[in-house]
Amino acid sequence: MFLLRLFGFNPGPIRSIESAALHLGWGWAGLVLVLLALVPLAWWSYRCEGKNIQAKNRNRILALRLSWVLLLALLLTGPIIIISGWIPQKNRLAVMVDTSRSMSIKFQGETRLDRVKKLFNSGFISKITDKTGIFPEVFSFADNVSPVSRQEVEQFDFAAEGNQTDISGSLRNVMSNLGEGSLLGVIMLTDGVSTTGENPLAALGNLRTPIYFIAPGADGESPDLALHLPKPPALGFLNSSVRVRGEVSLHHLATAAVEVTIRRDGKPFTTAVASFSADGGRAPFAFNIPCDTEGNFRFELSIPGVADELTADNNSAGFLLKVVRERLNVLAVSGRPSWDMKFIGNALSTDPNAKMTHWLRIRDDRWVCARDFKPEKAVSSLSLSDDLKFADVVIISGVPHQFLKPVEEELVKRLEAGSIGLLFLPSTQTLGELGYGGTPLEARLPVVPGRELWRGNPGSMVLPSSETAYNFLRLVDDPLQNLEFFATLPKFDGLYEYDSLKPGAEVLVSSTVRGSADLLPFMMQCRAGQGHVVMIAGAPLWPVGFRLVPGERGFSPFSAMMVNMFKWLANRREDAQVSLELPSVRGYIGQAANIKVWVLDSKNQLLANAQVMVSVRDEKNNSTSIPCIETSERGCYEAAFVPADRGLHKVEAEARYQGRELGRTSGEMLVETPTAEFDEPVIKEALLRQLASETAGLFATDADAARIIAAIDAVPGQKLESRSLDLRDSWLLLVILLLLPMAEWYLRRTGGLS
C-alpha cells in the first residue's frame, strides 16, 4: 500500500490489498517483441562505440542502458496493476408490512394487523436495531409500496385498506430502491395472500437476499359467506337468453343452501339457490336472463350476511348486460329485379354482422324472398310484418305503395322513434306512378314528389363544396382527393329532378346530369323524428359496385360506403368509425382499467394518427378526461382509468382526425370494491415457508418472531472491490525514465567517454 502511494497511485476506498496482479495492455508477448527489438539496438549501439573503457564503468553503463530499455519497453506495453481489497459498507435491512384488506381478518379477537402492531409495540424494531446496529427501513405494501417514517412506525400508522397485494412486485420495488449498502435481508410481515402481480414462487425463488417471513397469527376464524361471479356476461342478443353462472363459498360456516337475490336496474328480477354438499366449500348457482328488450341493464346479485362476518363486501356482486340486436338487418322491397339490389347485397355481405332480407315482386301475385342472400321459393303474397320487426334499415325500390300499406303505420312509427332508417331508390316509375302521393311515407321524404322529371343524361357524382359532415361519404381521407374520387366514379345514366327540397332536408351528393354548372341533387337526406331517410334520385348504382376488381379505388371503398351508410341509417354510427373496447364491463376500485378505442376511417380501415379522448363520468357526475395513446396496433388507442368510487361509470370516447370529428361512442362500466383479498382468508404458510427456504431466509409467526432476529447475520458489511492502476500515470516512473539516461551521460562525462 505504501509503495502504491509512493508511486503516486490512489487505491480509493480499499484499505488493505487482498490481491494484486500486473496486466499488460499488449500482453506478455508484446513485451517480448518490444524487447527483441530494443535490446539488440541498445547492445549494438554500445558495441559500436569502440572506445577503451574500464570494465567497471562498462558494466555500469550497460546496466543503466539495459534498465532504461527494460523500463521503456514495459511502459510501451501498457502496464496496469489490478488490486483487489475489501471496503466497508453500510448494512441495510428492510421491514415490509402488508396493509392489504386481508390483514383485517381476525384471529383470536385480533386482526392480523393488530398482531403486527402488538409485535412492534413489544420492541421488535428496536431489537433488530440492537442486533444489527442499524434502524431498518420500513415500508407498507399492498396496491403499491410506501416508505414509512420512524415516527409513523413508532405510532404504528398503518391501516389495512389495500385492495390487492403484489408480494413479488413490492419486494422487487423495495430492493431496487434501498440504495447502496449490504442488504442483510428483508423481513415481510404478511399473510401471504398475493392477489396480483407475478407468482411469488416463480419471481422470487432465485433471490440471493434472505427473505424472512412473519405470519401474523393463524387462519382467520370469522365466518364468511362470499359470492363469486368470475365471468359475468357482457353482451346479450335480442330474443335470446343469457345464462349466468356463479358460486357461493363458505368459511367457518355451515349451511345447506344460500339464496342469491338478483335485481335488475334496482328492481327484483329473480332468485337462485346455491346448495352446498356435505363438505361445504363452494356451491354453484345459475340463472337465465331473457333478452327481450334492447338496452343496457344493471344486474346486482346479493346473498344474506351473517353475524360478525369477515367482510360484507363479498356478499354482493354486479355486472352490466348490453342487449343488442344480433346483426344489422336490412329489409329490401323491390318492384322489379335490378342489379342495384344485388350490388347492395354484395356490399352488405362484406360485413359479417349484416343480414339482408329481400322481397322481389315478380307479379302482383308472385313474390320471391331471399334471406341472407339465399333465394327461396316464390310465394303468392308479400308478408313484411315479421321481417319488419327485426329490421334496422328498410330499402324501398320501385315497389307500388299498395304493398307497403299494411305495414306503413308500423314503419313510420319505428322511423320516428329512430329504431329504423329508410332508403329510397329510384325506379323506372315515378313515386306518383307508384302511388306514394299523399301517403305518410311521402310526408317523410326529403323532396316533394309529384312533378318529378327524369333527366336521362349521364352524369358524375359531385360532393358539396364544403367538406361533408358524413363519414360514409369520405372514401378517401384527403377532402380534395375525395372530391376527385367521387367525380371519377362511373357515371349515372340519369336522375329524377324534383321541384324542391323540403325544409330541413340536405343534399349529400349532387350530379352533373344537367351539366357541371347546374348540379342536381343526387343523394338527399332528412330526419323523420329521430330516424333518418335517405333518397337516391339517380340510377343505376351497380356499375360502381360491380367493378369487381378489388382495389383502392374499386369495389371495396364503395362497399364500405354502403355498409357505413346503412349503419348510420340504423343509428349505429359508432360502429362505422369509433368503437370502444372495455377490458370488462366490471371494474374495481384502485385497479387500472385499460380502455381501448378502435378508430376506422370511412373505408373501414384502421386509422393511425387520430386524436382520441376518453371521458369517464361516475354516479356523482364527476368527470375525468384522459387522452388516449396510440398503441403499436394500427387504429388502436389506449387510456388507463383507475376508478376511485363504486357505481356505474359512463365512458365516452371521441376520435378526431386532422381536427375533424370522426365519431363518438360510449359505454358503461360498473365499478365494485375488489374482494379478492377475502377469497381465501387463510394464512399462506406453505407458500411463505417455501419462499423463505429458497432465499435462505426463515418463516416464523408473530409469536416466535425472535427467531427471525436471531437468524439475521449482522456481520459488519464489506465488499470486495477492485481498482486498476495504470503505471504510465506514475510520476515516479517518469522521473526514473529520465534519470537513467542522465546517469549514463554523467558516467560518460566523468569517465571521459563523450
Binding site: P337, I362, F546, L548
Partner: protein, 240 residues
C-alpha cells in the same frame, strides 16, 4: 358418342351456313374481336358470352342471349340491352358484367392466368352460367375442377328455389334439345354459401332461346319452357 358429336357439329354448321345473313354478320363481328363489339350500357341488362380457348364453338346460338334479354325486359320490366356480346376472360371488361354465359360443343380450355381471373371474378360476386350444347361435359367439369379443386358440383334437387322463381318447374330442369336420351340435370357449384357456377347438362336451354326456326324440332312450347327457365336463372342470380 363421337359420331353423334360430329353429326351434331356438321348439322349446326350447315344450319349456320343457310341461316340468315344477319347471323353471319354478327358472327363476323364477334370473330373480329371484342374491341369492336357493341359496348354494354350500364343501366341495361347485358349477359355476355365467354370467349374461351380449346376449339369449342363458344359463338354458337348467337340469338339466344339477345332473345333472353329482350324477354327479361318485357316479362320482368327491366331496362335491357338486347345485344350479343362476347368477352374473353382475360379482358378487363369482364368485370363490368355480373353474369356470364358459356356455351358450345366440345373442348373448353382456360389458360392458367384465366383461371385466376375467373376465380377473382366469381369470388367478388360474379356468376357463370354454363350451357351444355353437346359434348362439353367432360371438358367443363375438368375446368371447374381446376377452378375449385376442393369443391364438387352439386346436383340441384327438383325442389330447389331456382325451379320456382318466376315460373314453376315441379319436375326440375326442362329438357329442351334431345341428344343422347339422357335426363337433363342442373349442377351447381356453391362456395361461401353462394351459387357461383350453374352448369345445365343435357338440357340445352341455349338452343331453346334461339330464334324460332333455328332448331326445327323446338316447338313454341319447348321454346317457352326454355325462356321460362332462363328467367328463373336470371332472377335467382340477381337475388342471391
Amino acid at each position: 358418342m363421337i359420331i353423334n358429336l360430329i353429326k351434331h357439329a356438321v348439322y349446326e354448321h350447315l344450319r349456320k351456313i343457310r341461316g340468315a345473313a344477319l347471323t353471319v354478320c354478327i358472327m363476323l363481328l364477334i370473330l373480329s374481336g371484342s374491341g369492336v363489339l357493341l359496348a354494354a350500357e350500364f343501366d341495361r341488362l347485358v349477359i355476355p358470352r365467354v370467349k374461351y380457348d380449346g376449339g369449342g364453338d363458344w359463338y354458337v346460338g348467337p340469338t339466344s342471349m339477345p332473345n333472353l334479354i329482350k324477354q327479361a325486359g318485357e316479362r320482368l320490366k327491366m331496362p335491357v340491352q338486347a345485344d350479343n356480346i362476347a368477352v374473353s376472360i382475360s379482358d378487363p371488361e369482364l368485370f363490368r358484367y355480373p353474369m356470364l354465359f358459356l356455351t358450345g360443343h366440345g373442348q373448353v380450355r382456360f389458360k392458367d392466368h384465366e383461371i385466376n381471373t375467373l376465380l377473382t371474378y366469381l369470388d367478388n360476386g360474379g356468376f357463370l352460367w354454363v350451357n351444355d350444347s353437346y359434348g362439353i361435359d367432360k371438358y367443363i367439369r375438368r375446368e371447374i375442377r381446376r377452378l375449385y379443386p376442393d369443391r364438387e358440383l352439386e346436383l340441384l334437387p327438383v325442389d330447389h328455389p331456382i325451379f320456382n322463381m318466376v315460373y314453376d318447374f315441379s319436375e326440375g330442369l326442362p329438357k329442351i334439345h334431345e341428344h343422347d336420351a339422357k335426363p337433363p340435370a342442373a349442377w351447381a357449384l356453391f362456395d361461401k354459401g353462394r351459387m357461383k357456377i350453374l352448369y345445365l347438362y343435357e338440357s340445352d336451354i341455349g338452343d331453346g332461346l334461339e330464334d324460332a326456326g333455328v332448331h326445327r324440332n323446338d316447338t313454341p312450347e319447348i321454346r317457352e319452357k326454355a325462356m321460362q327457365m332462363a328467367m328463373n336463372i336470371l332472377v335467382y342470380v340477381m337475388m342471391q
